[in-house]
Each structure stands twice: as C-alpha cells, then as structure tokens.
C-alpha cells in the first residue's frame, strides 16, 4: 500500500509524494460512514485536542493521543533545535520523557528532518529506552520537519507491534505535526511573556525597596539636620543642600541604570554643583562603578566633606587645594582605597571637630552599611579623610549582580 504513495530512497527510507497526488486505496467499509468522513472526524478531533492543550508537555501528549486515534501511532518524538535531547510522548501511558542526545531515535529523527521533507522509514530497528527502563522496538517512523521557530527541528510519529498507518492516514499526519508546531510556538511565547511578567514584578519590587530606603534616608537627614543646626535658617539650608546631593545621585543612578554611576562623575558633580573652581581640585583614580546604595552613602559623605571645605577648609582660600584619589587593591582583600586630602589651609578650624552629620557618615554609617574602615583627621594642611571600602556586591557593580 505504501509503495504506491512513496518513492523508495536508499536505506529503506521513503519520501511521501504531495498529498494531492495520493489516492487512498478503497477498502472495506467498517461503519455506516465513509472512511473519508471517519478519517476527517478523527483528524479534526486531534487538531482540536492539540490546539486546546496548555503547556509544552500537554501539547506533546495531545499530539501523541491524536496520532494514536488518527493512525494507531504508538507515540511522537521531537528533537529541539539545539539537539540537546529528545522528547518522547507516548499515548498509551500518557507520559512525556526526555532521552539523552545519543539515542538512536534522536539520530534517526535529526537525520530525516535535515532532509527538509516528510520521510517514512520502515523497520529501522529503533530501540527506544525510556528513562523508566521500559524498552520497545518501533518499526515505522514518519518524520515531519517543522519550522524552527517552534523551538524544534522535527516531529516523528512511530508505530510498533505490527501496527502501520494507512496511506490516507500518512498523508494527514504532517498536518497534525504542523498544528503541533504552531501550538508549541504559542506555548513558547506564553512562557516568554510569563517570564517577562515575573522579571517586571521583581524590578518593581526592587524600585519599591529603593524608594522606601531613600525615604528612610531623607527622614534621617531631616532628623540629623534638626539636631545639629543652630538656627531655622541653617536647618533649612543644610537640609536643602543634603537633599540636593541625594537627588544628584539618584539622577546619576537613573542615567547609569545598568552599570551604576562612575565614582569620578559623582565627585565632579558634587564639586561643580557647589561652584568649586576646576583649578581647586584634582581627581585621580581608575574607572570605578558603585552599587546604588554605596553610591548614595559615598555621595552624601562627599557632600559633607565639600561643605566643610567651603566653610572652614581648602575652598575658603584661592590657593587651597583638594585632591580626591583612589586605588584598587587586590591584597590582602579586594579594597577600594579612597582619599580626600586638603592642602594650603593655614589654620585648622576648631569647629570642624564638631560632631556633625558628616562625621556620623564617616565614623558610623560607612563602617556599618558597607564594612568600610575610615579615618578622619585635621592636620596642618587641612582635613584628611581615608575610606577603605571592601569590594563586594554591596559596594561594587559586578556582572553577576547588575542593579536596576
């Protein structure tokens, strides 16, 4: 029966002619309906089953069941486009399993799919061993190449126990396979959408977390400014300047969402925002990007140092200088060594020793939140601040942990 439909290929393989040319043989009527009508009923029921399946496994199971109802197939096998494994769905037990890439079944299907057209193979002596340990021999294999945007190279129906498809059934199975291919494609899209939704939810949660932390920081700044200010005017101006410094950092974080702000940019932005002349400071250090929280705390610290230098230190004199520098050291532990050094300041100001917000940032916040080791001193030349920041996921942007 098959010999009329298919042209023989070397190695016992056959190629199906276009279905329009196929003339199913007449056979004895087994029911009141014509066999054509019966076949089209079974086909339609199978297509509906595949189209309504939800989930990749369900699509394979529906395909296996449809192929059994339509053409007595024992199951269906699919090779993903990356050929990493082989999926096999059997209708009898209703199971979906994964075979390793070296299985003979996968090799047969991959080879046949590469031919680019539907191919029937008889008695290829395919031993199929399921992960459950169950083994069986399939005798007939019909491989249908499918469009790879479904994620698969090809689908193959197989028959065993002497059951073989009729010529008419054979011509209908590629249509079943293409419907499966469309269903797989739509499941893939559904999965990608689902993944994107989860990703979006976690990004929103991260933004929410950061917003709450930012508000907590602002609340603390308000309270601290209130405790240290000597007049309502001083309170207002300190508060405004500190919130502006925080806002600048948020701006920089938004611009460099993927990579975190450059340390040099943070420093330059703070100094220029406070109208410090270019010839009064030197910034030297390698490119370095800070994680969001560390950027915020470093920017606030920098703000306090700048304000102090403007009020009492290097920036009170035309010849006063500030050098901001940092180096990256890998031993004994990865550390960013950051230095703020003022020079040409004649008299060390007594008021700079007052315990203000800046000192709290340097002596308490940086060590607590970022594990930094810090020192602050006033020498003859002016203020000197050292911050040794351990390099880890809290302080630095790494490939593994990209902040928003």
């Amino acid at each position: 029966m098959l010999s009329r439909l298919v042209a023989e290929l070397p190695g016992g393989a056959y190629r199906i002619r276009a279905s329009a040319e196929a003339q199913p043989e007449s056979r004895a009527m087994t029911s009141a309906d014509s066999p054509d009508l019966d076949l089209s009923r079974r086909l339609n029921s199978g297509l509906r089953r595949i189209a309504s399946a939800r989930g990749i496994d369900a699509v394979f199971l529906a395909t296996a069941t449809a192929a059994q109802e339509l053409a007595n197939a024992a199951g269906v096998c699919a090779v993903p486009a990356d050929r990493s494994h082989c999926v096999i769905a059997t209708s009898g037990k209703g199971s979906v399993s994964t075979l390793d890439p070296s299985s003979s079944l996968q090799q047969l299907v991959t080879g046949a799919a590469a031919a680019g057209e539907t191919i029937v193979q008889h008695r290829p002596l395919m031993e199929v061993e399921l992960p459950s340990g169950q083994r069986f021999l399939a005798e007939t294999l019909l491989t249908v190449p499918v469009s790879t945007d479904s994620g698969y190279l090809g689908l193959a129906f197989f028959w065993r126990d002497g059951l073989t498809p009729s010529a008419a059934e054979l011509t209908l199975l590629p249509g079943l396979a293409w419907t499966t291919c469309l269903a797989l494609k739509s499941q893939r899209h559904e999965n990608q959408l689902q993944h994107a939704r989860i990703e979006q939810r976690s990004q929103i949660a991260e933004i929410e977390h950061r917003a709450r932390n930012l508000l907590a920081t602002i609340r603390s700044i308000v309270r601290r400014s209130g405790q240290t200010a000597e007049s309502p005017d001083e309170f207002a101006s300190h508060l405004e300047a500190r919130i502006s410094a925080l806002a600048r950092t948020q701006g920089a974080l938004l611009i460099d969402q993927q990579s975190g702000p450059e340390l040099e940019d943070l420093i330059r932005a703070e100094l220029t925002a406070n109208a410090v002349r270019e010839n009064q400071f030197i910034i030297t250090g390698p490119s370095w990007r800070l994680a969001p929280r560390a950027a915020e705390t470093m920017a606030l610290t920098l703000h306090e140092l700048t304000m102090n230098a403007l009020k009492f230190g290097a920036f009170t004199r035309p010849d006063g200088r500030v050098e901001v520098s940092w180096t990256i050291e890998s031993s004994p532990a990865p550390t960013l060594r950051w230095r703020w050094t003022e020079s040409n300041v004649r008299s060390a100001p007594a008021s700079a020793h007052r315990r203000g917000f800046g000192m709290e940032l340097i002596e308490r916040v940086l060590p607590y939140e970022l594990g930094a080791v810090t020192r602050y001193s006033i020498a003859d030349g002016g203020a000197h601040c050292e911050i040794d920041l351990p390099i880890n996921e809290r302080t630095a942007v790494t490939i593994d942990r990209i902040p928003l």
């Binding site: 949660a205 977390h209 709450r212 508000l215 609340r219 607590y368």
Partner: protein, 136 residues
C-alpha cells in the same frame, strides 16, 4: 498580670535582650535607641545575615527585630534559627516581601517605614509571657 501600655511605664522592656538586624544604619539606630530608651538591652545591631547568626550563637536573646531584605539577601535563615529556639521575632518588611514563607505566618510583621510606637507595642506583645516583663 498584663503589661502596662507604652507611655505609662518608663521602661516597659526592662530586662529584655533584643536582637536588631537591619542593613540601614539610620533605621537601625532609630530602632535601637527607641528600644533602649524603654529599657531593652540591644544585641547588635547587625547589618547582615552572617553577623546576625553569629550573635544568635553567642548571646542570649529574648526577642528579635528583623529586616527581611538585607541588601538583596533574605533574613529567613536567621528567622528559622530563632523559630527553632522558640524566640519570638518581628519582621520589618516593605512591599518587596509580599508573601512570607508558611512557617513564619505566626510572626508579627511591620511595614516600613516603622512606626516606633507600634514597634514598642509589638515587642511588648511578642514577649508578653517573658519573666523579665512579668517582674516589672
């Protein structure tokens, strides 16, 4: 005997040792000073999971106030350790922890930003049966 509500007694938490785990310095400081002012002895505060666990191992603790999201790592390990010891804990969370794992359903939970008066009441309620509070 019922515990006196906050405000009627200067040190309603006297004798309680409270572990504070919170990665934000200012929030930690705010929580600790409030609890301290009301008589509690603070263990910590700890900014991360590792130090929090070390404190549980090395110090007696009657109650804990835990921020769940510690710069991206979750404090459930600490909570689990406390649960096994029968030590009451209060979770402080934001929107980012919308669902707590089932085993922590019975733990008290406060939303950020924390209202300090509510925090005091919650710590008091969580330790209601504690001998230190019974004496006062």
């Amino acid at each position: 005997m019922r515990n006196k509500p906050v405000g009627e007694h200067d040190t309603p938490l006297a004798g309680l040792r409270v572990l504070v785990v919170e990665d934000d310095y200012f929030i930690a400081e705010e929580i600790c000073s409030t609890l301290r002012e009301h008589g509690a002895e603070i263990v910590g505060p700890s900014p991360d999971v590792e130090q929090g666990l070390r404190l549980i191992e090395s110090r007696p603790i009657d109650c804990a106030v835990l921020d769940i999201n510690l710069q991206g790592s979750f404090a459930f390990g600490i909570a689990n350790e406390l649960r096994q010891r029968g030590t009451p804990a209060i979770f402080v969370t934001g929107y980012d922890v919308s669902v707590l794992p089932g085993e922590f359903k019975s733990f008290a939970r406060l939303e950020k930003p924390v209202n300090l008066r509510v925090l005091l009441q919650t710590v008091q309620a969580a330790c209601a049966g504690h001998p230190a509070l019974q004496e006062s």
